[in-house]
Point group: C2
């Protein structure tokens, strides 16, 4: 599977972030064509020191072509637009082959 | 599930890193008591720009107590010792609740 990964650092206002993430962003993500699974991890700590990250979202696709098509789709562009509107300064997005 | 996450930036020598990761580190990780699943993602790119990360390893446990017990175990200490020996300057470790 190919996995698209969005890693968020801790936002300044976690209540506002959570509200937007759950009520606006996640419904948009779930519309990605070809999305097989969304796994969201709420970061709660680190074995040593504090975790600088807040949330990890992982979107699974059958392969890279399916992910590329999702990103290029109308729904994918809506996800990107929304992401930039509320998390542009705290999110890092990358992808890879999961096994 | 609780997920322990190790995120690696690109190592200076990827061949050496891969060899150690696959032949030494992964066998140690797989000995964690209570480990339910290990998912390894090889990062291949980013939608915008280059990915600064190289590898994401995710270790699933039933709950935080199980993860804490694994980290504190003899096997867990061997994982930590090995991690520090080959990746201390490129790895970030954190955990959270996955759903």
């Amino acid at each position: 599977m190919v996995k698209l990964i969005a890693l968020y650092r801790r936002p300044p206002d976690t209540v506002e972030f959570d509200k937007h993430y759950e009520t606006v962003h996640t419904p948009l993500v779930l519309k990605y064509p070809g999305l097989r699974r969304l796994e969201v991890t709420r970061i709660t700590g680190a074995p040593l020191g504090d975790a600088k990250y807040y949330l990890l979202a992982e979107m699974y696709f059958d392969n890279k072509d399916a992910m590329d098509a999702a990103l290029a789709s109308r729904e994918g562009k809506a996800v990107a637009r929304d992401l930039l509107s509320f998390a542009s300064d705290i999110v890092t997005v990358f992808y890879g082959d999961a096994s």
